[in-house]
């Protein structure tokens, strides 16, 4: 979901060093002031989080390695669960194992759909374009591989999310890494460590929610709207605050006003947009079916030769891994919060369902974007990001950029709604529940929408991206310590299936 321009980040870093001098010359504008205030902190945190080691001539951020290594270890530990139990996952989503008496409760499908609406977004459209424009078609291969490995991380975190959730007396449920870190590690005799990791996770999650899950989304959505309405000449150019205000009011009406009907409309439109996007992609791919073989050849050859790519094979690999991790959030822990609400007696069932998430997000949607870009021949046009994807689809359907702009705004909106919830859960974990405390966070969240849309806050975005990836540090430490618990859950679940205690109802 989050795509980062390393070049832009370093440019911002240079800019922020020069800014104090520039600012003395004239009255500093508000966004410059905010940038100045935040840049020193943001630079340190971003520098730490995205600490990169040079590998084969390109910078490799260690945090991406941290995510991919965890995904690989979990894949091996659970014996390639993502391939062995893929069919079982589909059958769970279809409701084959759902008891009819549980009708009216949250189904596996609903938990998956809600979690997906939080992850499918800009990463699938823009992030992939960045990956193939820098890493070449070969980056796609590594992206798919990372997506497949990430399925094991999702499986683990979502199983834990359900197992250690809180069920309140009034029937509400609340789960996520903060609960499995604190409760799970307490069970393992490490209550202190669990508490610290849970608090670190919550703080980072709040940062990620208002940053990457909010300001970044508002900012990119506005940029895309300006682009389709005429770029710099657009009547909207420079009135980001207005766009932000409208967006903030709509978000506020949903999260503060509790007007779920707007959320409902979005939840219906977003899958629809996703379907349009995938259908358009498929039409382009099928109508150029003769070129698909060639595109896959480019993807495979590019993956192992790195021809024409800065950094060769390693360059392609890094780009692919990075975008996959940014897009499907496997190992970050965010999805476990949404998945925890499902109605099931067996936590591991939600784990199986959750492993479909990186598959749909990365292996299907991202791959399709990459194929369309490769087939369209726009790869060497010098474009990148949303503009590249837009141009690639426009080569087949001239009207597509408009649809894409609408999709970007809606994806941004649904991502904001999901993250407002993730942030709120972390906030209430830290300060306790209560109407007043929740309103404070929600108002702050809406304010951030306006700020995000109206300003070019490079350092703030940098900071929030860092916070989202920082969530992976406590979360993955927890996954390593708690993976035997998940293995235990798997064993007892399959014992019940074999004994016939759990069986298909359809």
């Amino acid at each position: 979901m989050f795509w980062k321009k390393t070049a832009a980040a370093s440019a911002v870093a240079v800019m922020s060093m020069l800014l104090p001098f520039a600012a003395t010359a004239q009255e500093a504008s508000l966004d410059e002031k905010i940038n100045q205030a935040i840049a020193p902190i943001s630079n340190v945190i971003a520098g730490f989080m995205f600490y990169s080691v040079p590998v084969g001539g390109t910078a490799f951020p260690l945090i991406v390695g941290w995510l991919v290594i965890a995904a690989t270890i979990l894949t091996l530990y659970f014996g390639f669960v993502q391939f062995r139990k893929f069919g079982h996952a589909i059958s769970l989503v279809k409701g084959d194992y759902s008891h009819p008496d549980d009708a009216g409760e949250v189904s596996h499908f609903q938990a998956l759909a809600t979690a997906l609406s939080g992850t499918v977004g800009l990463g699938n459209i823009a992030g992939v374009a960045v990956a193939v424009s820098i890493g070449g078609p070969g980056a796609t291969f590594w992206m798919i591989l990372a997506g497949l490995l990430g399925m094991a991380s999702k499986f683990t975190e979502c199983t834990l999310g359900v197992k250690y959730r809180n069920e309140y007396e009034d029937g509400r449920v609340s789960g996520g890494p903060m609960y499995y870190l604190s409760k799970g590690l307490a069970e393992k005799g490490k209550p202190g460590l669990g508490k610290v990791l849970a608090i670190v996770f919550s703080v980072c999650c709040i940062g990620g929610a208002v940053g990457g899950g909010n300001m970044f989304q508002a900012n990119q959505a506005f940029q895309q709207i300006v682009n389709v309405t005429g770029g710099d000449e657009s009547f909207l150019a420079g009135s980001g605050w207005l766009f932000g205000l409208v967006m903030a009011i709509v978000v506020g009406v949903v999260i503060i006003g509790g007007i779920q009907s707007i959320a409902k409309v979005t939840e219906k439109v977003v899958p629809f947009m996703a379907v349009i996007y995938v259908t358009a992609g498929l039409v382009i791919i099928i109508s150029n079916i003769s070129m698909v073989g060639d595109a896959f050849a480019q993807i495979f050859i590019g993956a192992f030769t790195g021809a024409g790519v800065a950094g060769g094979v390693v360059g392609a690999l890094i780009q692919g891994f990075k975008r996959a991790a940014f897009s499907n959030e496997a190992g970050i822990g965010s999805a476990a919060i949404a998945h925890a609400a499902v109605r099931t007696k067996e936590p591991v069932t939600e784990g199986y369902v959750a492993l479909l998430e990186p598959f749909i997000d990365t292996v299907v949607i991202c791959t399709m974007t990459a194929l369309v870009i490769t087939i369209s021949g726009e790869l060497n046009s010098g474009l990148t990001g949303v503009e590249l994807t837009s141009a690639a689809f426009a080569s087949a359907f001239t009207w597509f950029p408009l649809i894409l702009a609408l999709a970007v705004v809606l994806f941004a909106f649904s991502t904001m709604l999901s993250w407002s919830y993730y942030g709120l859960k972390s906030w209430t974990y830290l300060v306790g529940e209560g109407k007043g405390k929740e309103i404070v966070f929600k108002l702050f969240f809406c304010l951030c929408v306006i700020v995000g849309a109206s300003m070019s806050l490079g350092p703030v975005i940098d900071f929030s991206d860092s916070m989202i990836f920082a969530m992976a540090i406590p979360n993955i430490i927890g996954l390593y310590l708690l993976m035997p618990v998940v293995r235990g859950e798997v064993k007892q679940y399959w014992a019940k299936i074999e004994s016939g205690e759990i069986k298909k109802v359809k």
Binding site: E105, V106, Q110, A113, G118, D170, G171, S174, K264
Partner: protein, 144 residues
């Protein structure tokens, strides 16, 4: 006296009340029981926001409680007529569920009320009586 009950679709509206009154007369005449079904429309494939996911279980308990409360007057009315009456509240697609329950309970017929919506609306959106007329395994009576 037959052991096949009459199945009545009920949702607390005036139309449903008319169906209950009519079914009461039929049941007295035939000397059979009445089974009231209250279906809460629900699809396991609908989309919910994260907040709705969290509240779902709580909401469901509240909805079930409210439905039982809504059923009360109908149960009382029929009880006064000395008709043996049972009821259930279920989540799902009303047409499919009522047909399924009719089979399950071996009902002799289904009686539902008609809200009197326009023909066009019913054609576009579908209506419970129309669905039942097309799919029901037993005779269907629609009370205007």
């Amino acid at each position: 006296m037959t052991d096949q009950p009459i199945l009545v679709g009920y949702d607390g509206t005036d139309a449903a009340q008319r169906a209950v009154d009519y079914a009461g007369k039929r049941a007295s005449a035939e000397g059979c029981a009445i089974h009231l079904v209250y279906v809460l429309e629900w699809s396991p494939y609908s989309f919910l926001s994260p907040q709705e996911l969290e509240d779902r279980h709580k909401r469901r308990s509240e909805e079930l409680e409210r439905a039982e409360h809504t059923l009360k007057p109908a149960l009382d009315t029929l009880g006064k007529l000395k008709i043996p009456v049972t009821s259930e509240v279920r989540y799902g697609h009303s047409g499919e569920l009522i047909c399924a329950i009719a089979k399950e309970k071996n009902a002799s017929q289904i009686i539902v009320g008609r809200k009197g919506g326009s023909a066009l609306g019913a054609r576009l959106l579908g209506s419970l009586p129309l669905t039942l007329v097309q799919a029901s395994p037993v005779p269907v009576t629609v009370v205007p």
